[in-house]
Amino acid sequence: MPLLEMRNIVKEFPGVRALDGVSFTLDAGEFHSLVGENGAGKSTLMKVLSGVYPAGTFAGEILVDDAARHFRGIRDSEKAGIAIIFQELSLVKELTVGENIFLGREPSRFGVINWSDLYNRATKLLQDLNLPIDPRVKAGSLGIGQQQLVEIAKALSQDAKILVLDEPTAALTESEVETLFGILENLRERGVGMIYISHKLDEVFRMSDRITVLRDGKTVATHIAAATNKNDIIAAMVGREVGDIFPVTTHTHGATALSVTGLTTYSADIADKKLVDNVSFAVKKGEVLGIAGLMGAGRSELLMSIFAAWQGKYTRDIEVDGRPVKINSPSDAIDNGIGFVTEDRKRFGLILEQTIVDNMTLAGLKRLSGRIFTNRTKENHAVAGPMKSLRIKANSPMTVAGTLSGGNQQKIVLGKWLLTNPSVLFLDEPTRGIDVGAKQEIYAEINRLAKAGMAIVLVSSELPEVLGLSDRIIVLHEGRVTGEFNREEATPEKVMAAATGNH
């Protein structure tokens, strides 16, 4: 008898069928991984399971311990013993670890909190998990990895029988990953069923009993982990040969477009903590330079510091086209021909409630419109070109950016920077969270720009992307360069070894 059974789940959004008859089972004490590309439906399935999408908004059945369940909200699913650790941390940073663990369930009498009971229980819980964390410190003072472990402790304090982990290791160091896996092994023995969502196949294979692959909202296959291998899983995930995505292109390189020497970046929050430590590199005209590294390696901080957009301290010497330049603000950087397609388009890239044209002309407004007075017609004329060449699918330039798909939004950010006429273009996670079609169009655009002589610095967490597009790859690990490879010598294994500090 399975602990959890999801039968024929169908979830539709306007115009999209996000889940199309997905079935999934989980046994007690089982470690069941859920893999698939971005947008395959993993998160949607977990939101159905947790009641984020309440019963009635989807078709299909959910059974826990063989009883049909109709969750109207997260509270209901928690009562049924389901706990989800989301990718984004949900701890309240200003509260202590203990307060976080018992948030909403504080041991109290007549509304007065019994603090000693709360902290004693929290201490016991953390000890059981072998976590050397003081429950009286503020959650925000812990590292991301430790916060993640606190979240797990919190889930267990609610007697979770089913634990869902969504990319839990994305922000963890090697040793934190080991601690986490130790805890998960322990939970497996206690009979907790775990659903593990991850892109990291090494971890998936190391821990899983079974692996289910989702693609385009459908269950492609469920394999016993011991009876399959990575290549089969990858093939099932993508449904096509990997090589197809990246047209092999050779770029001819010109003179050095940008060179950065002695770049050191300090944390904005923790004094004297170096996020990037004395990094130097150069990129030539027509070259695509990939910067690889795991989360927290300092890649975005590196780009932000060059662009003078980093909030903390930083030092570096910059030469553009062989002349030393001073860049003290983003507008200096733009004036020196540097463009920056930032990560997280919703936070850093777009003004969601404004139109496509307003967004696309923002960085180059004075040139594309007027120095003091704006000229709408001129702006509409300016964005017509990139809208067409980037194939932004919208009815008109007056469409509000927030109403578009992720792929189109990303193209608007790219278009905004192309309209500043850059000679050096930084791309930070340019394809995160967008569909495969839009990805390929952006890849094609990157190759086209490089061919036209633009120097491109590409930061991406997707290894195939870095390997497929870059002429040269620099690998960062904890703020230092731990590897540099040409296109010919770069392999996923070598890059990953450097990124994890094993070089």
Binding site: T355, L365, G370, T374, N380, M398
Partner: protein, 381 residues
Amino acid sequence: MEEAKTSRINATALRAYIMLAVLGLIWIYFHWATPGNTFLTARNLSNLMTQMSVTGIIAVGMLMVIVSGNIDLSVGSVVGFAGGIAAFLMTTWGFGLPVAIIAAILVGVAVGVFQGALTAYLNIPAFIVTLGGLLAWRGAVKWLLGGNTIPVADETFKAIGNANIPATVGWVLAGIAVLAVIYSAYRRASSVQKYGLGETNYKSELLKAIIPAGAVIAFIAVMNAWQGVPVPVLIMLAVALLGAFLTNSTVFGRYLYAIGGNPDAARLSGINDKRNIVKVYALLGALTGVASLIFTARVGSAAPDAGVLKELDAIAACVIGGASLMGGRGTIFGACLGALIMASLDNGMSLLNVRDFMQDIIKGSILVAAVGLDMVGRRQG
């Protein structure tokens, strides 16, 4: 093409139409309810417009501050302070009118730059900086005036708040305004052609100019039917036009919407958010200075409590007009309409002899209801 345009342009336009309709209903109601049907007379409309001028001028500056994602609670006290300094200069120190006018505006600008800099460069929340300002500048007025009311005798000064412009001048201004409306319609039409964005349709652009042109003529006709356009109303209209132009047609205006809409994205796009925030506060300060002159001139004296609660009237006008206190959204037209609605309520309820406490309760409820309905509409839209 048409479908996409509904998304923002028409949402804003729809809002404006609804507000105009609400204003129309309020006017019709008051006209019907007042004894002798006095509300919609040239005399009363002239009064009404004069009464809203101080709030309207401040609301224009406030709207821009709100669009940039900030707030200014100190303007009411600055009205008192700047007006107090102007009166003080003219009476106690015997300076002439030009000095007093320049001084009032400069005081407003200086306060704006100071508070804007504290907000932008020291990252003190605007709410706190200007709440401090609300207290401190009110204290400064009381200190300056020693708790007394200073009457101003200068008739030219009083004219700023009380005079009317001659009917002929009114018609000349109307003529200029109508020509400007037609010229801008022509410019819009021809610039479409210049960039090859399709056929130029002069006829439809000119048809669109009929409503604003008609409104200008009707307005002057009504004002001239009483004593001519009041000077404070003329100043308010000039300020509103300037504000509409700044927000719609300048790089500065676009930057304000960007900074309020997403400060991070604006900064990374090379916009100096701090400098623009100081500028917008300076602008609001200047307009507050202008408003303080009208206020003092209308009353004929500077008093320690001059301008009390004006900041809330201005903020309410912006919010009723559709501005978001989160920043990034709002129009000058909406803010002015908001000010007109509030002034109409004041005026109409006074004509109906509604007790002042009831007036406050009704105005407060309408403010909250307006934003509430807006939120419901937004969620469904």
